[in-house]
């Protein structure tokens, strides 16, 4: 199974674009999402993200990410809708709660910004080999190697954590925990599982750190050749 943010090999034009440029494009799209207030522009940016995904031959994956982002942002949408009280009321509920056109617009904007800003980053990271990105960060942007290494390690750990979480869920399901119920129930059952996941990932990170140290990590940069 291909996990989230894992590099997908390919030979498309987006694979060949220098990693830094890709990162720059992604950040530019993010910035555009946050600077516009127009829903149409936001929609166009999201469509652009998906098109980029298809160009990079990871269209199906991009749509899947879009789908899960939509699910997530729908929660935010529902929450947000009640907090904006300006504008004309469309629906008035008891206890003085009202849904306004302004609230609707604002919530939609927040959600689309969230989707529009997250999607380009996931697309770019899926199309970029991490070591290439680190190398360019160090060489071109002169980021200290230690920080670049920490950055790539953090990203590299996301799929590992996702896999561990899947394993924990599987183990719990095998012991009769029903995780198919509704969202709240699922969340309540999953939260306690985060503790062992956290502990095991700290152990993993420690083992990784020791392994790096035993292969001369601290020497890097001291005698820059």
């Amino acid at each position: 199974m291909k996990g989230m943010l894992q590099y997908v090999h390919g030979n498309t034009i987006l694979h060949k674009v220098p990693p830094l440029l890709k990162l720059l494009i992604a950040i530019a799209i993010c910035a555009a999402c946050f600077s516009t207030r127009s829903l149409l522009v936001l929609l166009a940016l999201i469509v652009l993200d998906v098109i980029l995904g298809f160009i990079g031959n990871i269209g199906r994956q991009t749509l899947r990410t879009l789908c899960s982002l939509c699910k997530f942002s729908s929660i935010i949408f529902v929450l947000q809708i009640f907090f904006v009280t300006q504008g004309n009321a469309l629906v008035t509920l008891p206890l003085g709660v009202r849904i306004t056109d302004e609230g609707l617009r604002f919530s939609a904007m927040i959600c689309m910004r969230l989707i529009g800003a997250t999607l380009p980053l996931t697309v770019m990271l899926t199309l970029t080999r991490l070591p290439d990105l680190t190398r360019q960060l160090v060489k071109v942007l002169h980021v200290p190697y230690k920080y670049a290494f920490a950055f790539t390690t953090a990203i590299r750990f996301i799929p590992i954590l996702a896999r561990d979480m899947a394993a924990v869920i599987e183990a719990q399901t095998a012991r009769g925990v029903e995780l198919d119920g509704n969202f709240i129930k699922k969340l309540r059952l999953l939260l306690p599982l985060c503790v062992p996941l956290l502990v095991s990932s700290i152990r993993k990170i420690e083992a990784g750190a020791i392994s790096a140290e035993l292969r001369g990590f601290h020497l890097r940069g001291k005698k820059a050749a």
């Binding site: 990170i205 990784g208 392994s211 001369g216 990590f217």
Partner: protein
């Protein structure tokens, strides 16, 4: 090569000692297997050799461990790593990269190997463990056995004089386990001192020159394979499986049918049985 003198260690938060009064001499060119029930202190012993104890895991450290003339307490783990290459139990956690080639390059770049030598060093390390064809693969496309070989190659690239491995075949099938040990034997024949913690006694008896049995932080038995396997009762008491060839020898001995030395492989056992039948 490795000399431990009355070494004891207690982890900072632990009640009892993880290692108690260990005196162990591992000569250059040795191929030592370490076996024992879990909690016997096997991994702790390896951490002492690689300097992770006491530099990373702190606690009460008594005695001394000298590796190639360096006192492990006085030099940093990084300095030690020029001599000792360590492969840990958790294969995934010890990877620092997502590509095979970068994983092997990591140590070489850190130690400042000249750029013109990098290519040949990577090639050499991968070829030694027999995975030169995987050089450009991504790590998450590899099988457990292949990853384990990458982990070994990444350490071999530094050309260590000592190689310590913690249960390198822990998650592998019998065929891959054999393959890993064949790699270790080749390295040992080329002069590398190998210290390996392993639960599968058959692998150890087939490949190692000598065996060390640990229990509750102490070394209970240490000697050549034949010397150690001559104590099947003690092994059972500690909770270590005895190879079937040694058990057979014990039974024949008890029945008064055989008096020769304990066999350590199937061929020797076959000869022994033929001798009895003749």
């Amino acid at each position: 090569m490795i000399d431990m003198q009355q070494l004891s260690f207690r982890y900072e938060s632990a009640q009892g000692n993880a290692l108690t009064d260990i005196t162990l001499h591992i000569p250059r060119g040795e191929f030592l297997g370490i076996i024992g029930p879990s909690g016997a202190g096997k991994s702790t012993l390896l951490s002492v050799i690689s300097g992770v104890i006491p530099h990373h895991y702190t606690g009460d450290f008594y005695g001394a461990c000298v590796v190639n003339g360096m006192d492990t307490v006085e030099v940093t783990p990084t300095d030690l790593s020029r001599v000792v290459g360590s492969v840990f139990q958790d294969i995934d956690a010890q990877m620092v990269s997502s590509m095979v080639e970068d994983e092997v390059l990591f140590a070489l770049e850190n130690f400042g190997v000249p750029a013109k030598d990098l290519d040949s060093r990577v090639e050499e390390a991968l070829a030694t463990v027999g995975i030169a064809n995987l050089r450009h693969r991504s790590l998450d496309t590899l099988s457990g056995g292949q990853k384990q070989k990458v982990a070994i190659a990444a350490v071999l690239a530094m050309r260590p004089q000592v190689l310590v491995l913690d249960e390198p075949t822990g998650e592998l099938d019998p065929a891959s386990s054999q393959a890993i040990f064949r790699v270790l034997r080749t390295l040992n024949e080329q002069g590398t001192t190998v210290v390996v913690v392993e639960q599968k006694i058959m692998l150890l008896s087939a490949f190692c020159k000598s065996l060390c049995v640990m229990d509750r932080g102490s070394v209970r038995l240490h000697g050549t394979m034949r010397e150690v396997l001559a104590h099947p009762e003690l092994l059972r008491e500690i909770g270590v499986n005895c190879p079937r060839v040694a058990t057979l020898h014990e039974q024949l001995l008890a029945a008064g049918l055989s008096a020769g030395p304990v066999p350590i492989c199937v061929e020797e056992a076959k000869a022994m049985v033929e001798g009895v039948l003749a």
